[in-house]
């Protein structure tokens, strides 16, 4: 079982990902609705894994999920982050991976795919 931080500005996505993670036996330790909050929550909870939406509202100079990845990885190089994205964001995914994200998952999210990518990332 992993302790996971779920980051997404859309409540329905946080509920969906959270429900899937619980079904897979993981614990959602915290949720965040923007990149800045994600950084604060990471520092506070030090989760085993983060699921991070790419496009979110800017807050305190953190423009999106990529900025949050850069900030988290700068301080916690061991952080494991899975980007959650749609097909239209391929350039951003590449940037996120180059910035230190471990992996990415395309929407629509299927529980089997989520399980596979978590296992691969935590291995």
């Amino acid at each position: 079982m992993a302790r996971i931080l779920v980051v997404d500005d859309a409540k329905m996505m946080r509920i969906n990902i959270g429900n899937m993670l619980k079904k897979l036996g993981h614990e959602v330790v915290a949720e965040a609705t923007d990149g800045y909050m994600a950084i604060q929550m990471y520092k506070k909870h030090l989760p085993d894994l983060v699921t991070m939406d790419i496009t979110m509202p800017a807050e305190n100079g953190i423009e999106d999920g990529i900025d949050a990845v850069i900030a988290i990885k700068k301080k916690f190089s061991e952080a494991k982050i899975i980007m959650i994205t749609s097909h239209g964001e391929q350039d951003k995914v590449i940037k996120a991976i180059q910035s230190g994200a471990s992996n990415y998952l395309l929407k629509p999210i299927q529980v089997e795919k989520l399980e596979e990518i978590i296992n691969k990332t935590l291995r």
Partner: protein, 157 residues
């Protein structure tokens, strides 16, 4: 690119998404694409702007009743009934975002090396809907669900 390529591929993908990904059996697979002068809308309409080698605006419109049904199908596992109302707009935005994102790479213009970008979805009040006068053409399709329908539109420049 055929003018109606986006609306054709998007309509097929929305049908597939609703039937296969969300498991809504009652969605009908037949649809027609119409070239319309004025578009009708339901009470919740979400838009995504398309830019790059093609330019336009894509819309998805549903009634409030159908939006609440889509929320129930979209949530994995249990949902507090009180939350359904709060999640209607996000759900419609997510459906359009996912399905349009899915078909972009299938467009002939992208397959041939072109670049097409999409905005984040936005849901407007009726008074703020895109002016239909500034577009060359409006294509529309309807997906039937029981006595309701989903209206998809593509405002093409």
């Amino acid at each position: 690119m055929d003018d109606y390529e986006i609306i054709d591929k998007l309509t097929k993908r929305v049908i597939e998404y609703l039937k296969v990904n969300l498991g809504i059996d009652k969605i009908e697979e037949d649809f027609f694409i119409n070239d319309v002068d004025t578009l009708e809308y339901h009470s919740i309409t979400t838009f995504i702007s398309v830019s790059g080698d093609i330019t336009g605006t894509v819309g998805l419109s549903v009634s409030h009743k159908l939006a609440t049904i889509l929320v129930e199908y979209s949530i994995f596992g249990e949902i507090d009934k009180k939350l359904i109302e709060e999640l209607t707009i996000q759900t419609i935005e997510e459906i359009l975002n996912i399905t349009l994102g899915n078909i972009i790479k299938e467009l002939n213009i992208v397959k041939n090396g072109g670049k097409v970008e999409i905005s984040t979805p936005y849901t407007l009040d009726k008074k703020d809907y895109p002016s239909q006068k500034k577009y060359t053409k409006i294509y529309s399709s309807k997906i039937k669900y029981s006595d309701e329908d989903i209206i998809l539109s593509y405002f093409y420049r």
